[in-house]
């Protein structure tokens, strides 16, 4: 029995190694990252015609599951890996997956273009999204009830917002959960009393509110300089995870390229923010 499982392990290792030597990389995971990952893959394949890269989405959770089952080489994630997922990886291949930060994403707060609100503090945001503040006049707007638009709880954006803005408290039950950032924008653009959040790269149709870290600090717009200088308070990293045993040859070269100046230029084209210089690969 033992020899059998050992030999099958060896076989699996040979097969996966064979796959990566043949110059084929599979990438799976977060839907937030899927467009960026495709752009990376296209450009990289254009330069190195010997490499084939297959990109698919599905969600960070799906990506981590595939990483555990060794059904994918790279796993895109819009959130950090969870302890239970690390555990599953260790059980599957005896090692922690290696984490690479690959891009920066700033989160904007949107309101309708008709809303007179211009700036808001992080604390007020938390109170609005947990349902403590229910009327715009409490934050200096019109006398109108607030409609809260949120994302599906499967989204990395949702989790990030919950942990970092709401400090782990629950979203109000009446928060409308929308299937994507574009849908949040669409809804907020049509709803005068609406408020929503999403990637800073999106934005047509609604107004981005400047955010203050607290009452005393200045209001900051979610522009690239402000996000990269870490002045703007709501931002996150996007990640790629890899099984350390596979992090060599083509896969390692690809990962390095993603985090080089050239790869990071594409990040900007897709609408996220490139990594700060000290995190890049030379």
């Amino acid at each position: 029995m033992k020899t059998l499982s050992k030999s099958s392990l060896v076989l699996a290792a040979v097969l996966t190694a064979g796959a990566s030597f043949a110059g084929s990389i599979t990438v799976k995971g977060s839907d937030t990252l899927v467009i960026l990952a495709q752009k990376w893959a296209e450009t990289y394949m254009g330069k190195n015609s010997s490499v084939k890269i297959q990109v698919s989405g599905g969600g960070s959770g799906i990506g981590f599951a595939a990483l555990q089952n060794q059904a994918t080489d790279l796993c895109d994630a819009s959130r950090k890996i969870k302890a239970s997922e690390i555990e599953a990886c260790i059980k599957a291949f005896n090692k922690r997956p290696t984490e690479y930060k690959v891009a920066v994403d700033g989160l904007s707060v949107y309101v309708s273009a008709d809303n007179p609100i211009k700036e808001i503090t992080v604390d007020q945001l938390a109170q609005i999204f947990t349902g403590k503040i229910k009327n715009w006049k409490e934050v200096g707007g019109n006398d109108a009830p607030i409609t809260v638009y949120s994302r599906e709880n499967s989204s990395g954006t949702y989790e990030f917002f919950k942990e970092h803005v709401l400090k782990g408290r629950d979203f109000t039950a009446s928060a409308q959960t929308m299937p994507g950032t574009a849908a949040v924008l669409q809804a907020v653009a049509k709803d005068k009393s609406g408020i929503g959040y999403g990637g800073a790269a999106y934005g047509a149709g609604a107004k981005h509110v400047a955010v203050k870290r607290d009452d005393a600090s200045p209001a900051i717009d979610p522009t690239e300089e402000n996000v990269l200088a870490q002045k703007y308070p709501i931002w996150r990293y996007l990640y790629v995870y890899v099984n350390p045993a596979l992090d060599k040859g083509e896969v390692a070269a690809y990962l390095n390229w993603i985090r080089s100046d050239e790869g990071q230029k594409i990040v900007k084209d897709v609408g996220y923010f490139p990594l700060p210089a000290q995190l890049r690969e030379k």
Partner: protein, 411 residues
């Protein structure tokens, strides 16, 4: 004319309408083959193939159910633990533990445990400890942090969670303290489904009566295909239309506060339900024997009276089947409800938002940790949905059978 032809080719309806009539009159040979003449080899093969396909359909239903039930079983058996703060063993204490204790703590199978070296076990312990150490201080001391929220009482009954003013039904499956109350989802599903049916059934059955009994042939030739064409619209398109256009129009008509709510979802759902109910009800009405209508008209009844008092009652089992299938379609519809409303608020008001079971499964499955409590609960919701539609279809079938017997004067 075309309607009548459609009726005879629609297998499910024929099953409902004629079941029981042929029993005993025709003998079935092996695998359903019994003919006066010998079947040609090709026909024989085709028949066998079709039989196998239908067998595989039954097998598929069975396999899907087994799969869903298997994934959901740990929840039913109460084997999951979703508590935030768990008893922790320091990674340095690895040598003090007995192997059996270590194996139980790490939740490993014998085989997995045997295959692991000490280093791997050590890193597993470290991961567990890290996860516990990462919990923010305020949550570590939260009175709810030690609760296993996958217990039935937390999934069914309201609870006053820390930070809430009163006991509430909360579905917040992602976060520090995970709240898995199913009641808002069940209510949400029922709310949008019932609104959809209330709206769709009178319209669809009315249209079916009109088209099959009252309309002139030329009108019928236009109206029937047009209504049936509705079912060809992908539900994601209906959802998008509802999200962008209907929500705005309905809000300006009724003036309610929440723009996207169960009412809009219900109306949008009825777009999906109307063609289905219409088509089956129309077939049922058309297949009422001509002689009924002719007899009623000959006795001096008007066409309306004939339609309402003779044809509709005679076709009632078929119309009822249409409604039951419409219910199944509405409660199982995902995309429309997902796009239009999805806040898991616990409220019976139709002008509040709602989150249906299907929406929840579709939206959350992708990110749920494989094999974790959230993942299992989503599968359990799937099983619940399966059971609900199954029971609804069973009851529908029973009622239909009774109605039929009553109509035929057998009881």
């Amino acid at each position: 004319m075309s309607g009548r032809r459609a009726a005879s080719t629609r297998p499910d309806l024929r099953f409902y309408m004629t079941r029981g009539q042929h029993h005993g009159k025709r003998s079935h040979g092996w695998m359903g083959i019994h003919r006066g003449h010998r079947a040609r080899p090709l026909e024989w093969c085709a028949e066998k193939f079709i039989f196998l396909v239908s067998l595989s359909a039954i097998l598929m239903v069975f396999l899907i159910f087994i799969f869903v039930a298997r994934e959901a079983m740990p929840i039913f058996l109460g084997q999951m633990n979703s508590a935030l703060v768990l008893p922790m063993i320091a990674p340095g204490d690895i040598d003090k533990l007995k192997p059996a204790e270590l194996r139980a703590y790490l939740n490993l199978s014998e085989k997995q445990f045997a295959a692991m070296d000490k280093e791997t076990l050590q890193s597993l312990l470290e991961v567990k400890a890290e996860a516990q150490n990462e919990i923010p201080e305020e949550f570590r001391n939260d009175p709810d942090a030690k609760l296993n929220t996958t217990e039935w009482r937390y999934m069914i009954q309201p609870r006053q969670w820390n930070g809430y003013d009163k006991p509430e039904y909360i579905w917040q499956p992602v976060g520090q303290i995970k709240k898995y109350n199913l009641v808002p989802l069940i209510v949400g599903s029922l709310k949008s489904t019932l609104i959809g049916l209330l709206f769709a059934v009178p319209l669809a059955v009315g249209a079916a009566i009109y088209v099959s009994q009252l309309a002139r042939p030329r009108v019928r030739e236009v109206v029937k295909p047009v209504i049936e064409m509705l079912s060809g619209i992908p539900s994601v398109v209906v959802g998008f239309f509802a999200l962008l256009v209907m929500a705005t129009v309905l809000q300006s008509l009724f003036g309610y506060q929440t723009r996207l709510n169960a009412f809009v979802a219900g109306i949008a759902l009825s777009f999906a339900v109307i063609p289905l109910v219409f088509s089956i009800a129309e077939d049922a009405l058309t297949s009422v024997p001509r002689s009924y209508t002719q007899a009623a008209l000959a006795l001096g009844a008007s066409r309306w009276q004939t339609a309402w008092q003779i044809v509709l009652p005679a076709a009632l089992p078929g119309v009822f089947a249409a409604v039951v299938l419409g219910f199944g379609r509405a409660i199982g519809e995902t995309m429309i409800v997902l796009m239009v409303c999805s806040a898991s608020v616990m409220s019976w008001s139709i002008f509040d938002s709602a989150r249906s079971i299907t929406t929840t499964i579709a939206a959350e499955m992708a990110e749920a940790v494989n094999g974790g409590p959230h993942y299992r609960i989503l599968f359990m919701l799937g099983a619940v949905l399966f059971a609900v539609t199954f029971v609804a279809n069973m009851i529908g079938d029973l009622v239909m059978h009774r109605l039929k017997q009553k109509l035929e004067g057998k009881r």
